[in-house]
């Protein structure tokens, strides 16, 4: 009889632990999957992985996040185990005697313990956090810092290098920063219309671009390459295709890029028909081509359009076909963008595309 009831008891325990695991397992699978996805930070599975930092602010956040994950993970495991234990152990037995269990109303010592211990944990987390906040937010630009002004537009990015006399769009170029002699970039963040947010996960946390509320942030990318990101504050219809690319180059490449971007557009007689189309339609209301009558500022500066890999804020590769399609029917690439369909004839479209192809 005794053996019988013991078997029955262990069956009950098993059933209890199955239902407990059904709740808990997916959480473990989730974090296990996450750990696998982040296993090798040098070869990240995702180009926007926050756990593959390549710049000081992103690295400080990464270090802090590991500490926070360790602390919260440990709390999770301990409390999870206690919950699981009580769910399994204190199930009503099948051969229950029908009497109420001992009625326990509370215990001040126990309450004190589980108040004081969390308070201590909070204090530790807070101090680690305050340190990183000060480190990232209270840094002032050194003399050799690069200054960039980023202006958010619906739905593209304008970049101005005030000290270098360069204006470009969507693809930000920066020199690599040697950790021994850092050359950080300080970005002033402005908005021309609604709220936006500048977020390149591998380079740093996000900071919002808010009209009438200038913000600053800094990054010091420590390895060359292209870093991806996108607008992280809902800004209207095409928030999703307001993509960000940061090209981190060696100092020589960067200086060369700056020199090239400073040149005005050069006239080319072979495409004069396209240029005339450009300069006699609404294009110039919104776009600038330096050295010409086109000086609009509502849309991206096109002076060196062909030096960019993408058009429409990263929505499509910069190929002649895409460019032509973009002018003919922007909604085909980015429905809801503020670029109007220009209603040009095929001949005008060809000429205009040919002209834009010369803006190197």
């Amino acid at each position: 009889m005794g053996a019988n009831s013991r078997t029955e008891g262990s069956n009950l325990r098993l059933r209890g632990s199955i239902s407990g695991c059904a709740v808990g397992l997916p959480i473990f699978v989730c974090f296990g999957g996450a750990a696998l996805a982040f296993a090798d930070p040098t070869q990240p599975s995702s180009p926007t992985n926050i756990f593959a930092p390549a710049s000081s602010p992103a690295k400080s956040i990464f270090g802090l996040s590991l500490f926070v994950l360790a602390v919260t993970g440990a709390i999770f495991l301990v409390v999870f185990a206690l919950l699981l234990y009580s769910v399994v152990s204190f199930r009503k037995k099948r051969n229950d005697d029908g009497r109420e269990p001992p009625q326990v109303y509370g215990s001040n010592q126990v309450e004190l313990a589980w108040t004081v211990i969390p308070v201590l944990i909070v204090v530790a987390l807070f101090m680690a956090t305050a340190r990183v906040i000060a480190l990232v937010q209270k840094t002032s630009p050194p003399g050799n810092a690069i200054a960039v002004t980023a202006i958010g537009h619906q739905f593209w990015w304008e970049y101005r290098y005030p000290d270098l006399g360069v204006v470009t769009a969507n693809e930000l170029h920066l020199p690599v920063s040697d950790p021994a002699y850092p050359t950080p970039t300080f970005i002033t963040l402005l908005s021309a219309d609604t709220d936006h947010s500048f977020w390149v996960p591998r380079l740093g946390g996000k900071t919002d671009l808010i009209p009438n509320h200038p913000n600053t942030m800094w990054i010091d990318p420590q390895a060359t390459g292209v870093y991806f990101g996108q607008c992280a504050q809902y800004c209207g219809t095409q928030h999703a295709k307001m993509l960000l690319r940061v090209y981190v180059q060696t100092k020589d490449e960067f200086n060369q890029w700056i020199l090239q971007q400073r040149q005005p557009a050069f006239a080319n007689d072979a495409v004069s028909q396209g240029q005339r189309t450009f300069e006699t339609t609404a294009c110039i209301n919104c776009h600038t081509v330096s050295g010409t009558v086109a000086n609009g500022r509502f849309g991206p500066d096109l002076t060196h359009l062909m030096s960019r890999d993408t058009i429409a804020a990263g929505a499509a590769p910069n190929t002649p076909q895409n460019l032509r399609l973009w002018i003919r029917n922007p909604d085909a690439i980015k429905p809801g963008s503020l670029m109007p369909a220009m209603q040009l004839s095929d001949q005008q479209l060809d000429a205009l595309t040919a002209y834009l192809e010369t803006l190197r």
Partner: protein, 557 residues
């Protein structure tokens, strides 16, 4: 032993024509009928907002999907968020509070029955107004569109410049009108709990349910008022030439954020405190023990109420508030984890040493404990401002708050539905369908919301209608979308169970759980006057005292 002593036998009216019955529901000031109206109204909107969620997830099942246009997608997430918060979770919680508080404190109705009816109909018309935008937003020609500004409607996207037509106006008016309803109900709950308790029920002898709803109602008064004020300012901006949030004329977008989140964060506690209230009633009854540390639970609730008013700007860590302000909101936000943790430990201690019976309500409340633990801990991660610089507005945040609202609040709510359904309908629900609902829904929940954290860590922002391939987000989004279908099936099983049990269920009797609070001492469903004679209580568990006259609770409290 019989506990029906406090109710009169059958006083149901003879059958009357349907119109007359419906008129009773429209004109009613009875807290129980209003409570049920709130609940049914919320269930209807739950279905609508659930379909919106499914549309969002189908669009995101793979990169560059073209199931819906960006414009429709933006309307879907705006309507999903607004509907779920204002027209599903708040009304359903008000419904339970309305129904249960007078019964639990031994009163015959709420303090202000007519205000109660007024508040419900204001909330109801608010929801209708929001959805009327589909018809009327561009003039009364049926050429309308839902609002597309997001549920927190950041300025200046809501200004006339960026939001033409009237869809945003419908959003503003819907929240304004339902806000008056919420404030009315909150005043009513506070007045009822403070003034209508039966003899012997001091504040320290109230069920925890009443305490948690008292604090919730106080928070509603404090939090919904600034939101209402902000909506009026936004209307002034849009139609009377004001410039509060009009950045093009020197207004401040950041002020809107402060107004919205000083509502928006306490709102989280407005939603979660009633969930705590359900759990605090269900766990003791199914563990057969009194709640562990009653006074500490009350103190923790009051602490949460106070601290929750000082944490709002943790939603704004990325707007450039400066290091000192950020640091303040880090510590205030982390501080709220302490009383919340105390609650989890007390529920755990209530189960400890008990004889737990896993009926459907207890299953949901147990899952609540596990899931709310995880949701709370991702909340602690997000209180770390630098972590939020990375994860703010990413899918990690979306996963976190759905873990709170679905994994926490909705699970507790399902528990509450099964626990009090026998009281409200007089019928017992189907335990088989209840367990089926639990298992299908929990699988769907974990598929969706566990895996949703990962694209956030991999840099996926929220509110994007499509995404680029090659970012490592595809697989996770696929799994997340599959989970939604399990949840949808779970919801259908749940609704089917309610309807089937209401029509065909066995009679439940007045006290099917052998429970201890006053609502179980009267008939199921309770008569219009609740109690034939006013109950008198001497402890927190009046029915325990009645059932154990030799060993009553008041000897120990």
């Amino acid at each position: 032993m019989s506990t029906d002593a406090l109710a009169l036998p059958g006083t149901e009216l003879a059958s009357r024509p349907l119109v007359s019955k419906l008129h009773d529901w429209v004109a009613t000031v009875d807290h129980k009928k209003l409570g049920i109206l709130y609940i049914i109204y919320a269930l209807v909107f739950l279905l609508i907002a659930g379909v919106e969620a499914m549309i969002i997830r189908i669009q995101l099942i793979r990169p560059h999907n073209d199931f819906i246009s960006p414009q429709v997608f933006n309307r879907m997430f705006t309507m999903h968020g607004t509907t779920m918060i204002f027209f599903v979770v708040m009304p359903v919680l008000f419904g339970f509070a309305n129904y249960l508080i007078p019964l639990m404190i031994g009163a015959r109705d709420m303090a202000f029955p007519r205000l109660n009816a007024f508040s419900f109909w204001m909330t109801a018309f608010g929801g209708l107004l929001l959805y009327f935008s589909l018809v009327g937003a561009n003039g009364l020609y049926g050429a309308g569109n839902a609002p597309d500004v997001g549920w927190f409607a950041y300025a200046p996207l809501t200004s006339q410049t960026f939001s033409i037509g009237h869809s945003t106006d419908f959003w503003i008016l819907a929240l304004l009108v339902s806000g008056f309803g919420s404030i009315g109900t909150a005043i009513n709950i506070v007045a009822t709990i403070l003034c209508m308790r039966c003899p012997g029920m001091t504040l320290a002898k109230m069920p925890l349910f009443a305490w948690l709803n008292l604090i919730m109602a106080g928070l509603v008064i404090l939090a919904v008022s600034p939101l209402t004020a902000a909506q009026i300012m936004l209307l002034i901006d849009r139609y009377l030439g004001g410039h509060f949030f009009d950045t093009q004329a020197g207004g401040s977008a950041v002020i809107w954020m402060h107004f919205f989140w000083i509502f928006g964060h306490p709102e989280v506690y407005v939603l979660v405190l009633p969930a705590f209230a359900f759990v605090s009633e269900v766990i003791p009854v199914f563990s057969r023990k009194p709640i562990f540390g009653y006074s500490v639970m009350v103190a923790a609730t009051v602490a949460i109420g106070f601290i929750s008013m000082s944490v709002w700007a943790h939603h704004m860590f990325t707007v450039g508030m400066g290091a000192n302000v950020n640091t303040f909101f880090v510590i205030s936000t982390m501080a709220i984890a302490v009383p919340t943790g105390i609650k989890i430990f007390n529920w755990l201690a209530t189960m400890w040493g008990g004889k737990i019976e896993f009926k459907t309500p207890m299953l949901f409340c147990t899952a609540f404990l596990f899931q709310f633990l995880a949701a709370g801990l991702t909340g602690v991660m997000l209180s770390v401002a630098p972590f939020t610089w990375q994860l703010g507005n990413s899918y990690f945040v979306v996963a976190h708050f759905h873990y709170v609202i679905v994994g926490g609040i909705l699970f507790a709510l399902f528990g509450a539905f099964y626990y009090w359904f026998p009281k409200m309908s007089g019928k017992m629900y189907s335990e088989t369908l209840g367990k089926l609902h639990f298992w299908v829904f929990i699988v769907g929940f974990h598929l969706t919301f566990d895996f949703m954290h990962i694209p956030g860590l991999l840099g996926m922002p929220r509110r994007i209608y499509t995404y680029e391939p090659g970012r490592g987000w595809d697989t996770w989004n696929f799994i997340v979308t599959i989970g939604v279908f399990f949840q949808a099936v779970g919801i259908l099983v749940f609704l089917g169970n309610l309807i089937w049990s209401y029509l065909r269920g066995k009679a439940a009797g007045s006290d099917p759980w052998d429970a201890w609070t006053l609502e179980w001492s009267t008939n199921s469903p309770p008569p219009a006057y609740n109690f034939a004679s006013r109950p008198v209580v001497k402890s927190r568990r009046p029915l325990w005292d009645l059932k154990h006259p030799a060993d009553p609770d008041w000897n120990y409290e």
